[in-house]
């Protein structure tokens, strides 16, 4: 009987340990949603697989407020390990009170061709490297009524008039965003 009791305690301890050893929250699905610095909680609006910050390619997110009231909008980026690399709660990648019909742009870094209202500074979580090769993203907001586009952009080149310059134009490609219900 005592052996059985000890065995049960052992199993309970093992299960308890396994419980604590469960996977840490990671990636755009199970990382807890942030609260904006004005105290308003965020909801997920889009998932963006294929956020790239590598070899002079950056990713720009352009979002328009379609709601009838001002909303907060944020971009969270995750590296290839699933680690969250910026803090919307601390203001990184966040826009507060984006007016009705207004459009904001946040990018993984500044680009020569596109306009950015804000650029991210990556923290040292996950890979710890100053790149996303290749990562993912999550657009969060205080309302689902926003519309976004994401573009991978060459950060160094601009479009020059070929009549006066032989410099090549930048690389650009849209990445497929997934709107959440």
């Amino acid at each position: 009987m005592m052996i059985r009791t000890v065995a049960r305690i052992g199993i309970a301890l093992l299960l308890s340990t396994l419980g604590y050893a469960g996977p840490a929250a990671a990636g755009p699905t199970d990382t807890p949603l942030p609260t904006f610095s004005d105290g308003r909680p965020a909801v997920s609006v889009y998932i963006a697989p294929g956020v790239i910050k590598n070899n002079n390619l950056e990713t720009d997110f352009v979002c328009t407020n379609l709601d009838a009231v001002a909303v907060d909008i944020g971009l969270e980026v995750f590296d290839e390990t699933g680690a969250l690399r910026n803090s919307v709660a601390a203001g990184s990648g966040a826009f507060l009170n984006v007016g009705v019909g207004k459009t904001v742009t946040v990018a993984t870094a500044g680009t020569a061709e596109l306009h950015e209202d804000q650029t991210l500074t990556l923290n040292t979580a996950g890979s710890g490297l100053n790149n996303l090769r290749n990562g993912s993203g999550r657009v969060v907001a205080t309302s689902k009524n926003i519309a976004c586009t994401a573009v991978v952009a060459d950060k160094l080149h601009t479009v020059q008039d070929p009549a006066v310059s032989s410099l090549p134009p930048p690389s650009l490609a849209e990445i497929q965003l997934i709107k959440l219900p």
């Binding site: 699905t29 790239i52 690389s171 959440l180």
Partner: protein, 356 residues
């Protein structure tokens, strides 16, 4: 024995039109090298590997557990060009939240975790197709056609260096990728249920304009203590998750969240009472939810109510595919649910049902 001409004609016709297996839709799905069967996640027309263009597919695991991920490519005749089963184009045990990249060739500008080697008789993809397969369908992917030889070089140091050509390719998902947020991909198995059939009501109305859309979920059930609700005035967010059987498996079709704390209009969103909590948001800011009632009580007296309306209400495309499961849960793991197998109404504008 004489065979009628009509039978001969039919047989000849069948022989002529009988399709060979090929392409992304009817080639049998592979088994990964760890013995796990693959499921189809998404189709990708326009896979290119020709003239220094390659195709990169970047996928993020949205499932709560590790998954195997593979990319199969097919040439213009529908002939498969790689064997995921032997590891060609496959990555095993990709952890939750992780992102991996599989490509038809290495590129100078992008990072690839796996590169497919085309297998005979396929030598080029000009232009072909592809499909993303995995041991769990809850993946989100992006695809790019990429110039494999150029990189982005500062034009101040190399004015003649051309940056690479890049183009986004459109993936078609077999089922919508798993929504993020707090709802799990499939219903939780251990939620509290109504004590008898008919004790939980679900009503969905899809109207035009969408400001008239409505969601009502009422539940009366097993004994629930106020402590089971946590404290939504500070920490316990509540999420309503609705699943149906789209595609033959449990599929999340609606996720609506009433976040913890916060101010709705000029008042706190959540108020506590002696028996539970009530959420009221006249602005319908969060997923169109206007009211959530959590009332503790003994068996038969505990009550839950979720009401939403308007254009911010996430709404699945009706009709739904029964059985439909609705679950209300907190982040802490306590949940309550009801299953609806035989709806009273289930058409393009209305879903109404009483629980099993």
């Amino acid at each position: 024995m004489r065979i009628p001409h009509s039978v001969l004609g039919l047989a000849a016709t069948l022989c002529l039109v009988a399709p060979a297996r090929g392409g992304v839709t009817d080639t049998p799905l592979p088994t990964f090298s760890d013995g796990k069967a693959a499921q189809l996640v998404a189709l990708l027309p326009g896979v290119i590997k020709k003239n220094q263009l390659d195709t990169d597919v970047i996928c993020t695991n949205l499932a709560p557990a590790a998954v195997d991920v593979g990319l199969e490519v097919f040439d213009q005749n529908g002939v498969r060009g790689n064997q995921v089963a032997s590891g060609n184009g496959a990555l095993l045990a990709v952890g939750p939240g992780r992102t991996v990249t599989i490509a038809t060739g290495g590129t100078a500008v992008l990072h690839e975790d796996a590169v497919i080697t085309l297998e005979a008789p396929v030598t080029t993809l000009a232009n072909g197709s592809g499909r993303v397969v995995a041991t769990d369908v809850h993946l989100a992917c992006t695809a790019l056609a990429v110039d494999s030889v150029h990189t982005v070089v500062d034009p101040r140091t190399c004015p003649t260096c051309k940056p690479p050509t890049l183009a986004g390719l459109h993936l078609t998902y077999v089922a919508p990728p798993t929504p993020s947020g707090p709802c799990p991909a499939t219903p939780s198995p251990a939620c509290r249920k109504p004590p008898a059939p008919g004790r939980a009501l679900l009503l969905l109305q899809d109207r035009s304009p969408s400001s008239l859309d409505t969601l009502i979920w009422k539940w009366t059930g097993t004994g629930t203590a106020k402590a089971d609700f946590g404290d939504p005035t500070t920490t316990a967010s509540y999420q309503l998750c609705l699943y149906d059987q789209t595609g033959g498996t449990a599929t999340l079709r609606l996720a609506a969240v009433a976040p913890a704390g916060g101010t709705c209009g000029s008042l706190p969103c959540w108020l506590a009472s002696t028996t539970g909590f009530q959420y009221a948001d006249p602005t319908l800011t969060h997923d169109g939810l206007g009211r959530v009632l959590l009332k503790a009580g003994p068996p038969g007296a505990a009550k839950l109510l979720v009401q939403g309306r308007g254009s911010r209400l996430p709404r699945p495309v009706l009709p739904l595919t029964p059985p439909v499961t609705v679950q209300l849960s907190t982040g802490g793991g306590v949940c309550w649910d009801a299953v609806y197998t035989k709806p009273i109404t289930n058409d393009a504008a209305n879903f109404k049902a009483k629980s099993d």
